[in-house]
Amino acid sequence: MTVNQEFASDAAIPPRWWWWLFVAALAVTLMVMPSYVDMALQLDLSIIFILALLALSMSFLWGYAGVLSFGQTAFFGLGGYSYAVLSLNAGVTHWPFVAGILLPMLFALVLGYFMIYGRISDIYLSVITLVVTLILEKTIRSTSGPEYVIGSVRLNGQNGIPGVPSLQLPWDSAAQLSIDGVFYLSAALMLLVYVGLRLLLLAPFGRVLVGIRENERRMELLGYDSRKFKLAAFVLAAGIAALAGVLYAVWGNFVAPEMFNLNQAAQVVIWVIVGGRSTLIGPIVGTGLVQYFGNWLGTQGIGQVTLVLGLVLMLFVLVFREGLLPTIGRFLGLLGRRFRAARPA
């Protein structure tokens, strides 16, 4: 493996005081928000938070571990389907919520073992994860017959599974999560995962991951088993994507094969690449922007949304490789330096 020159950014820097302030301000804003905005906006924001989790899982894996998995939507879909099938069967939601995260992680462990321990090259890994997503979607779509039943739940093929229960309190199944509740839950989890990943990247585990991204052979010579670390990152990212999938099922009370869709997978990549993969906050902003832009395009009725998304993807790969936030950040940094240089000492 050669030195990866694609990433100009270094490892995660320890957060300064203003980062903690920013996180706290964000938390407070999200806390008071439901009292001020209407339900429709709350629903829209909730789904953006949930999808931002999906984007976070990819940007962690790609930006920091250097592994580009197109299969994050596979774990997203598997999470949603696991939760739907288990909670409909069991009638409760607390352990299916956990199982909906653990089952896709198990799947990722098996898949990742074959890919990472086989030491297939990065591009192979990307394509294999893409193919896994494609074939999972096809498999789910082909289960429309009445013979495809898990427990008492029909998989329903193309039509998806309706009536997925909302989250209940473990001790009181009558207390269901309201729209406010879903908003708080998804906002809190997104913030938690963001802060958690940010801190994880400062811990020895994260440092080793970034080291492997920069120069895998050197890390191996230093005595780290890079395969173990990569696999751990892969499984962790799958867990985050699965969490997003479970939340998606809770949010919409519905799962469908579209969760695995290739367009969906492409959108995740677009969120991350537009926001900037070398930061964790970038993909969150990217998710919000692209989702908003996509919805707006849909209402304008100017042709195909996929057409525009494809153009955006090509443009960002060819021209704005770093993504929006890092580009803006560098521009501001440059401006600041100019400004300081122009001032007489």
Binding site: E6, L68, L111, F114, M115, Y117, G118, R119, I120, S121, D122, I123, Y124, S126, V127, I128, L130, V131, V132, L134, I135, K138, T139, S142, L262, N263, A266, V269, I273, G303, Q304, V305, T306, L307, V308, L309, G310, L311, V312, L313, M314, L315, V317, L318, R321
Partner: protein, 286 residues
């Protein structure tokens, strides 16, 4: 006995389809380690060219030629406008061609609508070992074989082929010896695209043409190329032979989705043993 014939025919047919859809991808991958994620859309464009040409009154064979030529030219254009800037940045190439694939699906849907189109052909059925099979399927198998043979002959007997093989083996040495590497890449990309366009055109009488048809082929094509490794001809033949057999048998016994799933599982297990594909250990060849 009859069942053996039918089974054998099904296997040969699914191997031929795999060769048809993945040879162009394999040629491009073998030459420049670039996976063209828009391969499925190149096939789709080929299918549309074929439909439009034959609706305009051209005979079917002329429509095939038109599809191969036009998509080949389109490939050259794509190489000049996009791929050329991304050599050495494999992941970025993957992303850019993915963007291209979304873009092309969007464009074709806007132009021709989401519904499928087809052409009428005058191929009948013939009896083979007691079962009736469409004689067009035999034409399709013949074209797959011809594509392999033509690619082999091009690489083996022409000066262009010699230069391509040299660039494939060692791009640096080749360019030191005066080979125009950029030109070689451009031509190879064009040739691979032409093969994809031809494949799309040839598939029209069976599948029709629709904007999203690419997705139906790409999964198998990617698996075949990755498992085949860096030698396009040997790799494609080996992987297509293996996966076509599995796919043919499982599809016959269960369903086509089950066939695809089993191909995927075998491919992933195989990559654990041969991470560089079937031809990964071979230094040179085709």
């Amino acid at each position: 006995m009859e069942q053996i014939w039918t089974g054998l025919y099904l296997i040969v047919f699914s191997v031929a389809i795999l060769i048809l859809i993945s040879l162009g991808l394999a040629v491009i991958f073998g030459m420049m380690r670039v996976i063209n994620l828009a391969q499925g859309e190149f096939i789709m464009l080929g299918a549309y060219v074929c439909v439009l040409a034959s609706n305009a009154g051209l005979p079917l064979w002329a429509a095939y030629v038109a599809a191969a030529l036009l998509i080949g030219l389109f490939g050259v254009l794509v190489e000049r406008l996009i791929i050329r800037f991304l050599y050495g940045r494999i992941i970025d190439t993957l992303l850019a061609t993915w963007g291209l694939s979304l873009f092309l699906v969007g464009v074709v849907t806007t132009l021709f609508g989401p519904q499928g189109r087809s052409v009428s052909t005058s191929f009948g059925n013939i009896a083979l070992g007691g079962t009736n099979i469409s004689s067009y399927n035999l034409v399709l198998i013949a074209i797959a074989v011809a594509m392999l043979a033509a690619t082999w002959a091009l690489a083996r007997f022409t000066t262009f082929g010699l230069l391509v093989r040299g660039t494939m083996q060692d791009p640096t040495v080749a360019s030191v010896l005066g080979v125009n590497r950029g030109l070689m890449y451009m031509m190879t990309f064009g040739y691979g695209s032409a093969l994809a366009g031809l494949a799309g055109a040839v598939l029209v009488p069976i599948t029709g043409a629709a904007p999203t048809m690419g997705v139906f082929f790409v999964a198998k094509a990617f698996i075949t190329v990755i498992t085949g490794g860096h030698l396009p001809l040997l790799g494609t033949m080996g992987a297509a032979g293996l996966f076509g057999t599995i796919d043919g048998i499982v599809s016959y016994v269960r369903s086509s989705v089950a066939g695809e799933v089993s191909v995927l599982i075998v491919a992933i297990a195989l990559l654990r043993l041969l991470p560089l594909g079937i031809t990964g250990r071979l230094r040179s060849g085709l």
